[in-house]
Amino acid sequence: MSRLPVRKTYKLFIGGDFPRSESGRTYEAQGQNVARGSRKDARDAVRAARAGFGKWAGMTAYNRGQVLYRIAEMMEARTAEFAELCSGRAEVEESIDRWVWYAGWADKYAQVIGSSNPVAAPYFNFTFPEPTGVVAIVAPDEPSLGGLVSRIAPVIVGGNAAVVLASETAPLAAIELSEALATADLPGGVVNILTGYRSEMAPWLAGHMDVNAIDLGGADGDAPELERLAADNVKRVVRGRIGEQSPYEIAAFLELKTVWHPIGV
């Protein structure tokens, strides 16, 4: 007699926990019942992200790099599971390699992006990048795993915390990713993943006063309205490039801080 498999309950990922939607709703995607997040879930995720941000941004760059590398390790161990949930093995391997690539940037981008500035007066003056804070990411529907990883990695390697709207049509890879993230020593709240209908959550994230930036890489027809809402608190609006890996993708979520001090004896 064949064994009846134990199925998984597909839940949200907020503050390091796996809650159901507070709304009690689900929707069917990829043949499964998936949590249908609400605007309240989105707000809870922002709060969790703000709480996670301080700790994550305060860690050393070396430490953050190691956590990103461990995310790659955790994904590698689940390669087969991921491959079933996206376009296949190639997408999984590319996604894992992308984590490794960004892991190596953690302690280098500040040297590429920062500067010391030869001002025409006796002052020591230097510029260094800092994370902008809480970033909302509208991930693309496809590729459901590659698109997600391409947008999360450059956001968090710089010390930001993210609230991510997963692919609406193919959310299972995102849920699988949240399980990998939960075992990668990533502090709770640094990445929060919401599944559900984008139209029910994206506008609330775009207009949220405690979100500092929004990545519309996965938005399409709703992008202009989301951009308009983003102006309420002068959010940085980024049109992330899905297929691209680059330190400029990291820089898009960084603030530059310049410090002056007199030189004298």
Binding site: T127, A231, D232, P262
Partner: protein
């Protein structure tokens, strides 16, 4: 305090000293009665047919009439900029572009006194500041970016940056020519052409700058200057032929611009308001800190987006510091902007004076204690005495809203953590100041303060090599330095795959 310090603090202040007037001559400036719009290398009458007067805020006398650009005028200016971009400017060699900018820098240096006098006449700022700060920095800005024009490929690793096209630039009235330089120099160095709109109340140095453009033999249409109020700016923002908008001004207008551009794909940089904390720890060199506080808030009558308008004082030194500050205030000289002794000039406009007056009244009503040194205000013109508010709660409007005038709000703190929390308790994040003799504390504070510029044991320093711009609702994008090039460039794709 030592006995000596206490005695010095009680020493009579030479408030009664009379200074002989030392006015800078205004003969160096020649003004037209009426100015058109500078489009395609020449002054043209506005199609709108409208003109409005521009004043000297220190005397309320009319200096000239300037044009109000209408939609048709904006369209002509953008068209001229597009033509200049397509037919030459974007394709001339970067080294030649650099030489045009070097020429502009040199001409500004040569004519700096003329510009300084006009800046003080039209804007009300003390000649000491326009002469020693605005003009040298404006020229330096052109000189700095000139050198970048043919070196852009070194600025962005693994990219081959290209120009964008036509930049629409809208600047404020607090540093009219300097803001023009901040906008035009990097835009041109990157290979773009520009349509620039100076502020409604301070158009004259931008109009005089057209003569620098002429002398530098810049091709027609590379720089276009259109004057007018906010309506002209709004037309420029929504014009389809503009590829990039750079705006410096209020957060309210910045948000409106960001909304207007939603979905257009145009590049945008915003340099908006601020409510900077200037934090003084108990181990700071107090006399230097007092100078820094005064420079932080009374420089340019407080018409500075990065002004240190919230003073955070560690409780243990509150009394001696405030005593020193009040004494120092009595020595500030308010009056004729063209007088070389003047520390505090005229408020830029009647409208701004009304706003300052309203917020100061709100501060008194909410329960803060006001101090103003004895000081005679001229009868004509727009003036406001340097003001310090003590007993200020964080919730008061004078602690939350940008006053943009010579008004300081004083708050206190006990621990570094409390200072950080109070300093960051604002929607803005443009600048901050820290005063302490302890190096590790400076660096710790510099890390924790959420602001784009941190001045440690100094305040209000600027340099073309030093990136400037805000966190949070103070805007995004940087002006100055290598980083100031990026808003005017399309970085394109990776040269080498994988980065």
């Amino acid at each position: 305090m030592t006995d000596l310090e206490r005695r010095q603090d009680r020493a009579p202040v030479p408030a009664g000293w009379e200074y002989a007037p030392a006015p800078e001559s205004r003969d160096i400036v020649t003004l037209e009665e009426r100015y058109g719009l500078f489009i395609g290398g020449e002054f043209v009458d506005p199609r709108s047919g409208e003109y409005f007067p521009t004043l000297n805020p220190g005397t309320e006398e009319q200096l000239a009439e300037v044009a109000q650009a209408g939609p048709e005028d904006v369209d002509l200016a953008v068209g001229a900029a597009r033509e200049a971009y397509d037919n030459g400017w974007s394709s001339i060699s970067p080294a030649e572009r650099a030489k045009y900018l070097f020429r502009i820098a040199r001409i500004l240096q040569e004519r700096s006194r003329e510009f300084a006098v006009l800046e003080s006449m039209n804007g009300g700022k003390p000649i000491r500041e326009s002469r020693d700060v605005d003009l040298p920095l404006a020229a330096a800005h052109f000189f700095y970016y000139a050198g970048w024009a043919d070196k852009l490929e070194y600025a962005f690793p693994n990219r081959r940056p290209r120009s964008i096209g036509v930049a629409g630039q809208i600047i404020p009235w607090n540093f009219p020519l300097l803001m023009l330089a901040w906008k035009i120099a990097p835009a041109l160095a990157a290979g773009n052409t520009v349509v620039l709109k100076p502020a409604e109340t301070t158009p004259l140095t931008a109009l005089l700058f057209t003569d620098v453009v002429r002398q530098a033999e810049l091709p027609p249409g590379v720089v276009n200057i259109i004057t007018g109020d906010g309506r002209a700016g709004a037309e420029l923002v929504k014009h389809e032929g503009v590829d990039k908008i750079a705006f410096t001004g209020s957060t309210e207008v910045g948000k409106a611009i960001q909304r207007e551009l939603a979905g257009t794909g145009k590049k945008l940089t915003l340099e908006l308001g601020g409510k900077a904390a200037n934090i003084v720890f108990d181990d700071a060199a107090l006399d230097q800190a007092v100078e820094g506080i005064v420079n932080g808030i009374y420089f340019n009558q407080g018409h500075v987006c990065c002004a240190g308008s919230r003073l955070l004082v560690q409780e243990s030194i509150y009394e001696p510091l405030i005593a020193k500050l009040k004494r120092r205030l009595t020595t500030l000289r308010l009056g004729d902007p063209l007088d070389k002794n003047t520390d505090i000039g005229a408020i830029n406009s009647k409208q701004q004076l009304d706003k300052i007056t309203e917020l100061v009244a709100a501060g008194e009503e909410e329960g803060a204690e006001i101090y103003q040194p004895p000081c005679r205000l001229p009868e004509k013109g727009y003036w406001f005495a340097p003001t310090v508010f003590t007993n200020v709660a964080q919730s008061y409007r004078i602690a939350q809203e940008e006053i943009f005038g010579p008004v300081l709000s004083v708050l206190t703190f006990r621990t570094p953590d409390e200072a950080v929390e109070k300093a960051n308790n604002t929607a803005y994040g443009l600048s901050a100041g820290v005063w302490t003799e302890k190096g590790s504390r400076i660096l710790s504070m510099a890390q924790k303060l959420r602001a784009g510029v941190i001045w440690a044991n100094t305040f209000n320093r600027f340099d073309p090599t030093s990136p400037f711009g805000g966190f949070k609702e103070s805007g995004f994008g940087r002006e100055g330095g290598l980083h100031g090039l990026e808003p005017y460039l399309d970085l394109g794709e990776s040269e080498v795959r994988g980065g």
